[in-house]
């Protein structure tokens, strides 16, 4: 019986799962090393991340999971919900230990909870392709800052790469301080040491924008205002679909000349 800690990454967590299996440990709890630092436990062990071990657990799970649940462990993990690690650990043990599929056993509180967390994170992941707004900079790069609640930027890579194959773009997570840059051939994860944009709302300094950028933003705002049917005004419904925390990134909601 032990407390196990890891570096906070998904790979790190999967490594913990691997160690539990190979060394036959049944942990009392699993947590990020950082979160556990203050607490003094008699038996606390830090497990160093190993890509290989993580890979083996991931592959093993993939064989067991139904197509529609392939990403469930990752999405649920990203929710950072309290106790998520031990819950996922129990779930993974159950899928490895039963010969039949238990993923649809919604009477089991773990399965149901994980499904819900997955949905929550997925919904947030979906908001990236919805609410990213590119600004064209003078060097021809389409830039967007955004701040999703969870670390979901990577899920948008495939979508953006396919859609904007013929333009250079950079989507930057302002909260986690990293971005994805596409150079017309492939994508790179980047960290910008110098920020030529407002770190709160992602707006690029005006002198660095391409000529015409402001005009398209203004046109978009005009369009937004004029397509609305005033007789049917329903601000609550609007907020429900488009959470207010994204408004600062949207020229239609936060245009300034």
């Amino acid at each position: 019986m032990e407390y196990l800690t890891y570096d906070g990454s998904f790979e790190g967590f999967l490594t913990v799962v691997f160690e539990c299996y190979s060394r036959k440990i049944s942990p009392i709890d699993i947590g990020k090393e950082k979160a556990f630092q203050e607490k003094i436990f008699a038996q606390k062990e830090f497990i160093a991340t190993s890509s290989e071990k993580a890979e083996r657990v991931w592959k093993g799970m993939q064989n067991k999971l139904h197509t529609r649940n392939k990403e469930l462990p990752l999405f649920a993990f990203l929710s950072e919900a309290p106790g998520i690690e031990i819950m996922l650990y129990r779930f993974i043990r159950r899928i490895f230990n039963t010969s039949f599929s238990i993923e649809t056993d919604f009477g089991d509180p773990d399965v149901l909870e994980l499904k819900k967390l997955e949905k929550k994170v997925m919904r947030e992941a979906m908001r990236v392709p919805q609410f990213v707004r590119f600004q064209k900079t003078s060097d021809g790069i389409f830039f967007s800052g955004i701040e999703p609640q969870y670390d979901v930027l990577p899920f948008a890579i495939k979508h953006f790469t396919n859609r904007f194959a013929d333009q250079q773009w950079l989507v930057y997570d302002l909260k986690r301080n990293y971005g994805i840059y596409y150079d017309l051939k492939k994508t790179h994860e980047v960290v910008l040491s110098e920020k030529s944009f407002n770190t709160t709302n992602g707006k690029v300094a005006e002198n660095l924008l391409q000529e015409g950028e402001k005009i398209y933003q203004a046109l978009w705002k005009d369009y937004f205002d004029h397509i609305c049917i005033d007789e049917r005004k329903n601000l609550k419904l609007q907020r429900q679909h488009m959470p207010q925390r994204f408004w600062k990134f949207l020229p239609e909601k936060n245009y300034s000349n």
Partner: protein, 437 residues
């Protein structure tokens, strides 16, 4: 880009806003690697207007000049209002630049009839053609087919567009003729049939050679105006059902009549659009498309109008009280779908989960069943049915009073009293599905 484009944009967005269809869905088109854009099967909403509707496409008129005089339309020729027309290049430029900035999923182009149907259709078709051929644009294009345009032009438009639609607007022929003297059912149904046949031919040829030219791969849709004319909901639903089955339409949209031309005495005098009725029609449409209901079950000849107090599924359950209570641990998926308070997702989860254990009301609640509503219609492990103890009419009063008090607490605008019970769920489903392709 200059200020004239800005003015035109304002005028022509204003003129386009009453067309409700927003879906950019129904087709997957992958960018071959060097072009711009892709279409994803379920569409993405990029923004939401102050009226809470999704903005997915740049929905715009090419022109609001019109030679026709339809009573229900703001753009009719007898109205004195600012008029404008975009050039083909202006529209191409706007679409591309909005698209590159991730404002939109694509273009939804409609238009008033400028000189004659062919002149109008040809310019619309050119916009799509230029986008595809000159800009190598692979994003979504939805175009209106102009009734009366030549089959050749409609065919060409179908080669570039993902979806073509013809709006019926008024649900019966005599009423349509009365309000739109230049139109009749035939003029609307002719292009609709042509598109339908085009799609069938395309599908056949696709099956033989993979390289056969694509023809409106996302199918066609139409819009009906509700409340401008005296048709019953039953007539409307039977028409929709027919359009789904016979014409294989992808969507029928309902638009609550807005009194835009209140001087016209052929139209009813109303203060505000019939939003509740519109919502009930959407709910019924939803029941037909996803809950395996048919139009006759939703409204029979004795009940030609939808009940505005309760949603159509609940109304059905109350009318057909003898079919309940339903045992969730045994009943078929189709029957479970009919329980008020159970959605498609929960119905599927119930069927999956009951293989592992007998479900009780705690499980059902966790799965997402609205027990407050469902409890009158089910039996499960421990829950004895209360259903039989209720008189249908009393049951309805009971449920209505429960839900009214709930929404009184929630609302911040007047509209909240009439919650969009089924609509938001649709968006949610969309949101989830995008990642699964």
């Amino acid at each position: 880009m200059n200020s004239s484009v800005q003015e035109k944009l304002k005028i022509l967005a204003d003129a386009a806003k009453y067309d409700v269809s927003c879906a950019s869905s129904g087709n997957n088109r992958r960018n071959p690697g060097s072009g711009l854009g892709s279409a994803v099967a379920c569409g993405i909403c990029h923004s939401f207007t102050n009226d809470g509707r999704c903005i997915s496409l740049l929905k715009i008129l090419m022109s609001n000049h019109c030679i026709y005089d339809c009573a229900y339309c703001v753009n009719r020729r007898s109205n004195d209002r600012p008029r404008a027309s975009f050039t083909v290049d202006e529209l191409v430029d706007l679409t591309i630049n909005f698209y590159r900035r991730n404002y939109i999923e694509g273009l939804f182009l409609s238009s008033g009839v400028i000189k004659n149907p062919d002149f109008t259709m040809e310019r619309m078709m050119l916009v799509a053609k230029k986008l595809r051929q000159e800009q190598r644009y692979y994003g979504y294009i939805h175009m209106k087919a102009i009734p009366g345009a030549s089959p050749e032009l409609i065919h060409q438009a179908g080669l570039y567009a993902d979806r073509l639609s013809v709006n019926i607007e008024i649900p019966t022929d005599p009423e349509l003729k009365r309000l739109a003297p230049e139109k009749n059912f035939k003029s609307v149904l002719t292009p609709m049939n042509q598109i339908h046949e085009g799609i069938l031919t395309y599908k056949e040829e696709r099956a033989k050679f993979r390289k056969a030219p694509v023809f409106t791969p996302a199918g066609q849709s139409t819009q009906l105006i509700v409340g401008a004319t005296p048709e019953s909901d039953r007539q409307i639903l039977l028409l929709s059902s027919n359009l789904y089955h016979e014409q294989q339409l992808k969507r029928v949209y309902y638009s609550g009549y807005l009194p835009v031309n209140d001087y016209d005495k052929r139209l009813p005098a109303i203060q505000s659009p019939p939003l509740v009725r519109e919502n009930r029609l959407y709910q019924s449409d939803w029941l037909m498309r996803f809950y395996e209901f048919n139009a006759e079950e939703i409204l029979d000849p004795a009940h030609p109008f939808l009940d505005l107090d309760v949603d159509p599924k609940l109304a059905y359950a109350i009318r057909n009280y003898h079919l309940f209570p339903i045992d969730v641990n045994r009943a078929s998926y189709e029957m479970i779908l009919r329980i008020p308070g159970v959605g498609v997702q929960s119905a599927k989860m119930i069927v999956d989960a009951r293989r592992f254990r007998r479900l009780n009301s705690y499980h059902l609640k966790k799965i997402g069943v609205v027990m407050k509503r469902a409890k009158y219609f089910i039996t499960c492990n421990e829950l004895p049915s209360k259903a039989y103890t209720w008189e249908p009419e009393r049951l309805k009063t009971q449920i209505v009073s429960e839900s009214i008090s709930k929404y009184k607490k929630a609302g911040d605008t007047q509209l909240e009293l009439f919650p969009l019970v089924l609509q938001p769920k649709k968006e949610e489903q969309k949101a989830i599905m995008v990642w699964q392709h």
